[in-house]
Amino acid sequence: MDAATISPMALLELKDLRVALEDGTEIVKGVDLRVDTNEVHAIMGPNGSGKSTLAYAIAGHPAYEITGGRILFDGEDVTEAGADERAQAGLFLAFQYPHAIPGVTVTNFLRTAINSVRKAHNDGKDDPIPVKEFRTALFAEMDRLKVSRELASRYLNDGFSGGEKKRVEILQMAMLRPRIAVLDETDSGLDIDALKVVAGGVKELVGPGMGALVITHYQRILNYIEPDFVHVFVGGRIVEEGGPELALELERSGYSKWEPPAKEAA
């Protein structure tokens, strides 16, 4: 019997997902993907292949229109759900370019986010995290991710270096404890030491409680988070799938064998 047909439903499932920009241009052209807890998936693709669009669509960005297919999370169809509902259900997106929120401290932001999620899990009634519990967890995670404690009272991503922003993304993930984390080019702009810390932070969370979908152009980050599955993503489609060895092969030969020949300039 085919193993796939009898395996239970995965936590995150994309079924023939198609995504277009507001002007109608189709970017993601039919993607099937299953990500479960205790799994690390890598989506590898060249620039412009639609990787970030896929990540935004999974997270529920309103500017990306789902033109076909479905997104299931924990068996529920969340294709039309808002980004907040998906996050409350346990989905997390680490942004490639995190946005600055001037005037809002990292601490205040994190506490509000945690309380929003807790409220959603408490039938819409407030259930704020005790202050002491929050602070203890925050400082423990900051130390583990080598994020300076001084950042806790700074405004979120406001004047942060590229490396600080990426670490704070992982800090948010560690505090929010999602069930599926999508990491969009988290490796870009990180030096090797920062990359190790960030990758280590993700790796530690992957387990029975969390699965990860690592979106990347380069194989580099996968040296530190070894993927169970590698999906090659070109032209809005998954064109090949395999194990960790596929990532190494891509490192050697690149994406050219899947890419269409460059069009003549008009």
Partner: protein, 475 residues
């Protein structure tokens, strides 16, 4: 189901009745003295007699009324044509005598203030409470250590009785009774407000607080505040107000005069949240002498129309002035706020920071005047005004008037207008915040440079009001 804006705006005031005990129709019958509607020399005379004022004050009131009647309505700023001056109660006094302690207060008034938590707040950290119920301060207590330092903190009527020397010397000197139409009106019918004198070298470390509200339909509130900070002294005065919803228009027109003597420092913090039918037309002006510092922190939420431009005249060398203002305009509201600084002496410095937010068709504007007189060499000033517009129906205006008659100056001006970005909202929502929570967070962050200057309980209330305003604005 998302609530409509109308429901939200009405909702903000609707629970005041149960929460604060406002708008109790039975209370209105118990007033000791209530003037008829409308304005006349007879009324001014009646107020003055009723208060048993000295003759100079009676004359001042009459002269002020003449000035008020002579002056036309201002045609700039906001639309004032809806004010019906003949349909306003200009004076209501709730009890005959000032209460000396909490226990002496009449039961219905006490009940109201119990609901507002005044005694608890006082226990916590208030140095004194002036609670303006209707037109007059009825409860006023000064903690013993302040009294022993010679600090005077009274309602204005008591100030006139007990410290006539000081009041006569300074009253109406910073804002003359012909300054503008509404200052003239206040000068004619003023009642209540605070009188504060801080003797040389005395630092009042805890903020002095007063609460104001309007609680009778069609009742004008014309409080008058005079603060004198003597040499090397310091005081922080805080006023806040909430008001119930009324069916007809109401007028609030206060006058605040402040004198900061050499090396003194005064900070005056206001958070106003008038109901959406109130015309809030306030004249606030301070003078700062050598090495003195004056700071206005001014938050305007609510009201139908607010016109308020706290002013500072920097009269002595190295005097420093700051104006921090926030204006939040929702549906049917027009906030015309800003600041005014006049550099008269050399080496004076000032900073004006204005943040305005408009949503659901609201209109928020910054109107500021920066003036540097000839001879104010090496004056330095920075004006920053930022506007946040939350939707297509709302409006923001900036009128930064600058008049410089001196060459050796350092003047900076920055203005920004922004909208909440879809990307910012998505980022916050991807962490589990609802759209309303995400919007409120961006707005709270926008005004943070000012809320961080507020006493904690005001900062908390400010953020709560912003959250209320943002709820239901989804989509």
């Amino acid at each position: 189901m998302a609530q409509t804006e109308t429901e939200i705006v009405q909702g903000i005031g609707a629970d005041y009745g149960t929460k604060y005990g406002f708008s109790n129709p039975d209370e209105a019958k118990d007033y000791f003295f209530k003037s008829g509607r409308g304005l006349s020399h007879e009324l001014v005379d009646a107020i003055s007699s009723h208060k048993d004022e000295p003759d100079w004050m009676r004359k001042f009131r009459h002269e002020s009324l003449d000035n008020f009647l002579r002056r036309p309505l201002p045609t700039w700023g906001g639309d004032l044509s809806g004010i019906d001056f003949d349909n306003i109660f200009y004076y209501i006094k709730p009890t005959e005598k000032q209460a000396e302690s909490w226990e002496d207060l009449p039961a219905d008034i006490k009940d109201t203030w119990d609901k507002l938590g005044i005694p608890e707040a006082e226990k916590k950290y208030l140095a004194g409470v002036g609670a303006q119920y209707e037109s007059e301060v009825v409860y006023h207590k000064l903690q013993a250590d302040l009294e022993s330092k010679g600090v005077v903190f009274l309602d204005m009527d008591s100030g006139l009785r007990e410290r006539e020397d000081l009041v006569k010397e300074y009253f109406g000197t910073i804002i003359p009774n012909n300054d503008n139409k509404f200052a003239a009106l206040n000068s004619a019918v003023w009642s209540g407000g605070s009188f504060i004198y801080v003797p040389p070298g005395v630092r009042v470390e805890l903020p002095l607080q007063a609460y104001f509200r309007i609680n009778a339909e069609n009742m004008g509130q014309f409080e008058r505040t005079l603060i004198i900070v003597d040499e090397d002294a310091y005081v922080h005065y805080v006023e806040g107000c909430t008001a119930p919803i009324y069916s007809s228009d109401s007028l609030h027109s206060a006058v605040v005069e402040i004198i900061v003597k050499p090396r003194g420092r005064c900070r005056y913090t206001t958070i106003q949240n008038w109901s959406n039918n109130v015309y809030n037309l306030v004249t606030k002006r301070a003078v700062a002498y050598e090495d003195a510092t004056m700071e206005w922190v001014d938050g305007n939420l609510g009201s139908k129309l607010t016109m308020k431009y706290p002013a500072i005249w920097l009269l002595g060398e190295r005097a420093h002035g700051e104006v921090l203002s926030i204006a939040f305009a929702g549906s049917g509201q027009h906030q015309d706020a800003g600041g005014k600084v006049v550099h008269v002496a050399p080496k004076t410095s000032s900073v004006i920071t204005s943040k305005s937010i408009s949503k659901n068709g609201g209109r928020a504007g910054y109107r500021g005047l920066l003036e540097v007189a000839k001879g104010a060499k090496n004056a330095k000033s920075k004006v920053v005004c930022d506007a946040l517009i939350l939707d297509e129906d709302s409006r923001s205006d900036t009128y930064p008037y600058i008049q410089i008659d001196e060459n050796e100056v350092d003047i900076g001006h920055e203005a920004t207008v922004s909208k909440i970005g879809e990307e910012q909202l998505f980022y916050l929502m991807s962490r589990g915040l609802s759209e309303a929570e995400a919007s409120a967070m961006v707005v709270s962050g926008f005004v943070e440079p000012i809320t961080k200057e507020l006493p904690l309980e005001y900062a908390v209330e400010m953020n709560r009001l912003i959250q209320l305003q943002m709820e239901g604005s989804v989509g």
